[in-house]
């Protein structure tokens, strides 16, 4: 189980490859499914072109809540492993923002846990997006029904 919050850009597919390689002894033969969600920065939002974004966070609390959400997922589903990586700081359109991956013996647990991790992260982990558009900077409003 690994949780990372970092300013550095990352490639989610390389992260997954190296994580699977490092966890091979633990996972090989036991894992029947891995579910992965990658969230990336769009170059549009609410009808406007977005040039850049800054993600602010509350460092200690962010890690605290990512750990809580992960622990909850592990009590709800029989997970073999999970990996969560989230960026903060300045971002460019196309940059991966978040990676969530869940490994389990069966696909239902993997899909459900992956969905739970990203949904709970979005509503509870203290991150705030600020977009840069042609009209200036604006704080992003929380999502309603849009998912």
């Amino acid at each position: 189980m690994t949780i990372r919050v970092q300013a550095a850009a990352f490639d989610p597919w390389e992260e997954l490859t190296s994580y699977e390689r490092s966890a091979r002894e633990r996972l090989a033969g036991k894992t029947g499914g891995a579910a992965v969600f990658v969230g990336s920065m769009r170059d549009f939002n609410q009808g406007q072109t977005v040039r850049a974004m800054t993600l602010e966070h509350y460092p200690g609390m962010t890690v605290n809540y990512l750990e809580k959400v992960e622990a909850e997922a592990r009590t709800r589903w029989p997970l073999l492993d999970c990996l969560v990586i989230h960026r903060y700081g300045p971002l460019q359109p196309g940059d991966p923002i978040v990676l969530v991956a869940a490994w389990a013996a069966h696909r239902d647990a993997a899909f459900s846990a992956c969905r739970y991790l990203i949904d709970e992260l979005k509503t509870r982990a203290p991150f705030w997006k600020q977009e840069q558009t042609a009209a200036g900077r604006r704080w992003v409003a929380p999502e309603g029904s849009e998912k």
């Binding site: 993600l55 509350y58 705030w128």
Partner: protein, 81 residues
Amino acid sequence: MPIAMPQITVRYFASLRERLGRTEEVLDLEGIRTVADVWARATGEPPPANILAAVNLEYADFSRPVQDGDELAFFPPVTGG
């Protein structure tokens, strides 16, 4: 020997930080019992409709008591992921 005045640290994030023009401050606890009291002392504003609070890195109700050494935070709804 002087006795240290009980104090708390208050942090602000995102649009609230920008609106208040500060990121952090230390307040004396005198006359303060709850998170709501901290908000009133720090901002002079009525209880906010759309601001969340945390005490020691955990979400907290505005009715929650505070004590010496606590770290409080106020911020708008979160938008990560």
